[in-house]
Amino acid sequence: MADLSSLGNLRHALATGQLTRRDLIKRATVLGVGATIGGTLLAACEDDGDDGEEVDDTADAGQVDLDDADDDDDDDTVADEPDDHVDDEDHDDEDPDDSDDADDDEPTGDRVDRITVGIGADALTLMPTAIVDWTTGIMISHIYDRTVNYDPDDNFAVGAWLCTIEVIDDLTWEMQLVDDNIQFHNGEVLTAEHFKVLLEWVQDEANESHYLERFQPVEDIEVIDDLTWRVTTSEPFPIFPTRLVALEPVPLEYWEEVGDDELANNPVGTGPFMFNEWVRDERLLLDRNPDYWKHDVQVDQVEFRFMPEFSSRLSSLLAGEIQIVKDVPIDALDTVEDNDEARIESIPSSRVNYVALVNNREGSVFEDVRVRQAINYAVDVDAIIDGIFQGEATKMAGCLSEVNANVNPDIEPYPYDPDRALELLEEAGVDPNELEITMDAPQGRYPMDADAAQAIAAELGRIGITVNVQFNEWGTHLDKIVNRETGDMFYLGWGPALEAQGTIEFLFTGDSTYSGYGDPELEEMIFDAGRTVDPDEAQEKWDEIQEIIHEDAGWLFLWQQHDIYGVAENVEFTPRADEFMWMGDAGPRNS
């Protein structure tokens, strides 16, 4: 595996690299015409050649940024005059690998030549299973494959990806590779050994992997045969499958040969895209893996472009320079919808927003459950969702969102009932007009957070309660929560939260880092449920816990965020509730 990047480069060149934008459009036009004449030819070249005409659009939106010089009127005229362009193509084309071109060229008929994703931050590393960070994880998962993954067709329960997963007994899990010939981009074949070595690497404290704690109960990893491996845990570890999502095997021979740093800088995975180039704070460029084991990849190149400022990202989308942005502000929904080249794709995310009502601190007004309930009755969450989010948020009933695998669907949200709130306060002997509460809130961390916090304060103001909102810089906010120095209310978001334990054990036990709630009895129940492997039995326990939390009003339950994407019209992209922004099944879109 001498020079991976050059291998990447080579493939890149074969696929698109030697073509200028104009060439591409011309070729695309041939294909467009060609497809109508002889679709059979196309179908023969690559398996799913359903619509060759798509190319016109894709080529157009793809690389506006690359060669401005080519952005002349030629483009339009050429598209209308197929004769002319055939002529041109011969002149312009200086690619010696003409035959290769032809091979690779025609399948682009049903592919997008490039999707550029505008993303707020750079990856922190490209070494898998090392750092917990959304951006980092997304980029790595395009190069590598996850061991298992959340399945959108099964309400985001963990399902098979590289491996299937099976419970042997309370302490033993068995994983089986789904295919005996999954190859890394350099040809190395993936085996059970790969998983064992990486997991052991994670467990080695010296490597400082963030996942060390997450795999803590794992005691022993055993390779049964080339395709099968087993994990034994020291205690029942029901969320083990969730943890496995982040385990993304790396090629052992290559790793051994080049070492940690080089592996991180020149990653070689089994994923749908192959590493091409990574310029820190600028972009990550990936090329299509033509031999992806799972399915045919319909995007020739994926570029992640790091753009910290959301207005710049949105401008780039509107200018046609990039094809996908996440977190379109509510304010810009109409702008994007009105744009001919872009559309909105929105999905309720598994990330939840809430206001903790601190019940376990001396002197907190929320020591009394009636006051906590009163807050829930007094805030008109629907009005805030309509007024501030323009409907782009989903009200939560309890502490888990509706896409959480363990959600108790029977829980009904607190209705908006200010009179009931006043009654409860009276019962508790609290005069709302005397009540003054400080609420700590972040600013710019969650969608519309500053506005929502002010709105909540105003809602409570209507029944006489004075809420002073203290906005913090993000770091200060975390410090305050960890050190228990917030006001009696604090605003926080949590996610992706796809199963119960990760949310409830962490946010509703007294000693947890970001918790504002503690109740010894409930804590016992939570720990017990978290050690129950049998899914049905566990679910029963989680259902009960959720009821208690709801009744006990540990939070002011707010909403699930919506992940709002701006997507170019000619790109097919499906957002997912688990925040897994995945170009592996993106492709051209017929408009």
């Binding site: 922190l124 963030h210 310029v279 472009r305 207005s311 710049s312 509107l318 046609g320 770091g475 000693d511």
Partner: protein, 305 residues
């Protein structure tokens, strides 16, 4: 001369040492860095363990000595968030920032100085007022707003320039303009007032009286003398441009040091903050040394001492 430079270099090292000391304590005051480089579901016990392992629990002076011990060898440690050496991360950003800074400096000199001279020569005229107004307008709009307006107009509306990123010349235009807007005004105003100052002095009157051509008076004698304050401010501009670069790099997704510094400051990635600041201090002190040397060159009466 050589002795002077050596003395200045020693002074430079001293200043950088002080900068490091101050920044070390300032950053530690911002708070606990640990939450920023571990997942949110890390238990409190583990947080404590990590603090212990990284030495954040040690007395501050011990941390300081340890840091300084490494720093003198040029080792600022690894980034807390990224698995990379802080120095490496900073070095990788330098070209982008220098390119942007140099472009902005050149543009502001080329526009600001002539504008100021024009104003001075036509003092009180409509042209003077217009020139002042134009240059001051650059000061009146916050850089982030100007950046966005430029993007909306030239990229989204007209489609002439790429919105952001680095690579082509076209991508350099808007960040440079935004960054330069501020310094153009500074240069224009300074050159206006120094030119007025110089033009009022005896030797210029003498020159005129002796029948030297007006252009020679202005461009040779006056400008040479007016150049000293301009040099001073150029030294200071190095720092200002870097400060401005923070905002501009953010808006235009320019992969430079300003962005790195801002991010590492917000994320409490202390090693990266320190490494960046050292570089900034180095540039600043070097610039002021060069400025002083240029003084001597522009005006032999100035004695270096």
């Amino acid at each position: 001369m050589t002795a002077y430079i050596i003395r200045r270099l020693i002074h430079m090292v001293f200043v950088i040492f002080l900068v490091l000391t101050v920044v070390f304590f300032l950053t530690r005051l911002t708070g606990d860095p640990v939450h920023f480089f571990v997942p949110m579901d890390t238990s409190r016990a583990n947080l404590e363990e990590i603090r212990e392992r990284y030495g954040f629990n040690d007395p501050l002076w011990q941390q300081y000595l340890r840091f300084m011990g490494d720093a003198v060898r040029g080792d600022f440690g690894d980034s807390l968030r990224q698995r990379d050496s802080a120095t490496g991360l900073v070095l990788a950003r330098i070209p982008a920032t220098l390119q942007l800074g140099a472009a902005a400096l050149a543009v502001s000199l080329l526009i600001g100085v002539p504008l100021g001279i024009f104003s001075a020569l036509n003092r009180g005229s409509l042209g003077d007022k217009a020139a002042t107004l134009i240059s001051v307008l650059g000061l009146s709009v916050p850089a982030f707003l100007m950046g966005l307006l430029l993007i909306l107009f030239f990229s989204v509306y007209l489609g002439w320039l790429p919105t952001s990123g680095r690579g082509s010349l076209a991508q350099l235009i808007m960040p440079t303009a935004t960054l330069a807007a501020f310094s153009v005004a500074r240069y224009a105003r300074l050159s206006r007032s120094t030119m007025l100052d110089v033009l009022g002095q005896d030797y210029i009157r003498t020159g005129r009286a002796k029948g030297l051509s007006e252009s020679k008076v202005v461009w040779v004698h006056a400008l040479k003398n007016a150049s000293i304050p301009l040099l001073t401010i150029t030294g200071l501009q190095a720092g200002h441009l870097l400060g401005g670069a923070v905002v501009v790099e953010q808006i235009f997704a320019w992969p430079g040091m300003g962005r790195l510094l801002l991010q590492s400051l917000l994320n409490r990635d202390f090693p990266v903050v320190m490494a960046t600041i050292v570089f900034v201090a180095l540039v600043y002190t070097l610039f002021s040394l060069l400025t002083d040397l240029a003084y001597a060159w522009a005006n032999p009466e100035v004695r270096l001492k």
